[in-house]
Symmetry: C2
Subunit: 383 residues, 2 copies
């Protein structure tokens, strides 16, 4: 129940240990084709260049930035946590001209703020923003911002590492040009691949570059030939076992149904949030913009962060995340992602936490958190 | 029996499907520590910064170059095949000043050629060379070149993707500063990680950089904190399952013993080479410099490359590699790597090939290749 990796389904583990074939074998190429079709379904896109980068989510981030931004190109990066900060670092490394806007961690941007920044910096060609900030639990809406970028002729890059598969994300309908994710969050596959989708306007940007991307390994112009049906030209040896696993993880998402899966994440996220609030914990992220698969709560006075997390792990086998950077010691980040988003995890976590707080004398009774969660489960499914 | 991935041991498949723990969990950190110790053993080094890059072998190549070379830095790249060519591409992308020397594909460099190039370009700070060219089957000696670089104060980067675990490689004794490999060749682990080792002189180079490396994902200055015992600071989420697999693959290498494993590769490589020569095939790589785990042979007149490879695959389930780039249609590349380096593979391949050539009327008798191989197996183990 940390901020990822999430629990993995038996069928995905079995896929991992499937006997290898070569990375250009017809059998593997069939798996690549079907994986691409399933990724398009999950990203809600028709983009032909939809595939998995051979690295973790951060490689996906770097790949999207390094392909879209040339040295000297102006880019606007919207920062509300660790991962927006990381984007700034990458933009500077590849020689982009960075314009950065900030919101306090845990808050989200209003579309007007992006519009204002673009007016101030009319030369911006690329906007980058995190949809689900794993460091803060904030859920940044991107639909309006996507449309704004489309209307003003900018490319938009969206980080959906934590949201893909667990919250609504409409790449085509929202006008998102480039989107990347990771496998180890709501897709419930082990870490090691970064699903990405790259729209036609982004491909055009790639074709009109004056310089090669700084990375050969992540150069989509080269990788495209490997991930295009009918071409499949060797670029690098794909992580075959990881691709088997992703194939099976995506099949499980599709069997459940995207909307059912999102509803499941909402239900259990709501139950855990209500339970924690009943125990006096305060949600850290902005109201109305809280992620259902990554809940952030302020550690209350009287609760010793590291000690309670140690007891959760040692006595109950439950891992949750502490705060990153300036939030260290101040917030908890509790993951209910993919296979981990289950009623038994919600109830076990609340029971364990209530027991620990009771034993420490922080609370005098056990049951308030569990009752609040039970009320959510008894009511109609949240919409 | 292609140029990788090689066959994978049952224990490695089992490790892949081991239940995940978090990438900062004490259990995973123990596995990281032990993996690093085993990698040092296999690389024959004491370098503390020895770990696996979270990408395939090509990510290892890019990582080593992008960390050692700054924009404007002069680098000498020695090219005798596809992978040396790829190094040149990367050096140019990251803004290095490239000096390139070439040998015809299949040939190796003499140390004097490197010495001459360094005299011609005294500003060179980094030399990069491939130890085992997977595209040609040539085995480039690097011991003298390593010493030359050490004496003249240059860093040397050695590509050991195909040689590590299958041929002698002495990182410390030969003065190699930086060495990278892949998991899917003689270590017989699925593709997805790139073992690297980075010596103190290379770390010094990293510390004295004027600019950040162009890649955040591959920045060893940042990754070092994650792979240093006692620190283990979060950088990116490691591909946990792949690291389990590498741990088990390395344990198997160490159980067999490095020298035994190298002797096994020599024995079977010799048997297959003698068998093919007895059938009239000519070795492609320079005499005295042929890899035992990746054999390259010129396709003789009268043998139709694609047709024979198709029959090998469809009728016998044997995959071998064709030529890359200018060698397409002209050479075969046959892998006997790690778990695939076995007597039954040598004998099956020769029996299948002889049967196909017999059926096609290319040869009038079956047995010459198998006899030559049998003579190798009957004799004393090659030294």
């Amino acid at each position: 129940m940390g901020p990822g990796p999430s629990a993995v389904h038996r069928r995905v583990y079995e896929a991992l240990s499937k006997r290898l074939v070569g990375h250009l074998d017809p059998e593997f190429i069939r798996i690549m084709n079907e994986t691409q079709a399933m990724l398009r379904h999950v990203f809600r896109t028709e983009n032909r260049l939809t595939f998995s980068v051979s690295g973790t989510g951060s490689a996906g981030m770097e790949a999207c930035l390094v392909n879209c931004i040339e040295p000297g190109d102006e880019a606007l990066v919207c920062v509300q946590g660790v991962f927006g900060t990381r984007m700034c670092d990458i933009v500077e490394r590849i020689g982009g001209r960075l314009h950065r806007i900030d919101r306090p961690w845990g808050q989200v941007f209003e579309p007007q703020e992006i519009a204002d920044a673009l007016k101030k910096h009319p030369g911006v060609r690329t906007v980058a923003i995190v949809n689900a900030e794993t460091s803060t639990g904030a859920h940044q809406p991107v639909e309006e911002i996507g449309k704004l970028c489309r209307e003003t002729g900018r490319l938009i890059i969206v980080d959906a590492v934590t949201s893909l598969g667990g919250a609504p994300l409409e790449v085509d309908r929202w006008g998102i040009d480039v989107c990347y994710s990771g496998t180890q969050k709501c897709l419930s596959c082990p870490p090691g691949l970064a699903p990405v989708t790259f729209g036609e306007r982004a491909i055009e940007r790639l074709r009109s570059r004056k310089s090669k991307p700084a990375s050969w390994y992540l150069d989509f112009g080269l990788i495209e030939s490997y991930w295009t049906e009918g071409k499949r030209a060797y670029h690098h040896t794909a992580p075959i076992s990881m691709n088997y696993a992703l194939y099976q993880a995506l099949a499980l998402v599709i069997e459940e149904g995207l909307e059912n899966r999102q509803a499941r994440h909402r239900l259990h996220g709501r139950a855990l949030a209500d339970g924690l609030e009943a125990l006096g914990f305060e949600p850290f992220a902005q109201e109305g913009h809280r992620l259902p698969m990554l809940l952030s709560f302020t550690v209350p006075a009287g609760v010793v962060d590291a000690e309670v997390r140690r007891l959760l792990l040692e006595e109950y086998g439950i891992e949750i995340g502490g705060g990153l950077g300036p939030l260290a010691g101040k917030v908890w980040r509790i993951g209910l992602m993919g296979e981990s988003s289950r009623r038994e995890n919600v109830v076990l976590f609340l029971a364990a936490l209530e027991s620990i707080l009771f034993a420490q004398g922080v609370t005098k009774e056990i049951g308030a958190g569990l009752e609040a969660a039970a009320r959510v489960y008894a009511g109609p499914a949240t919409s």
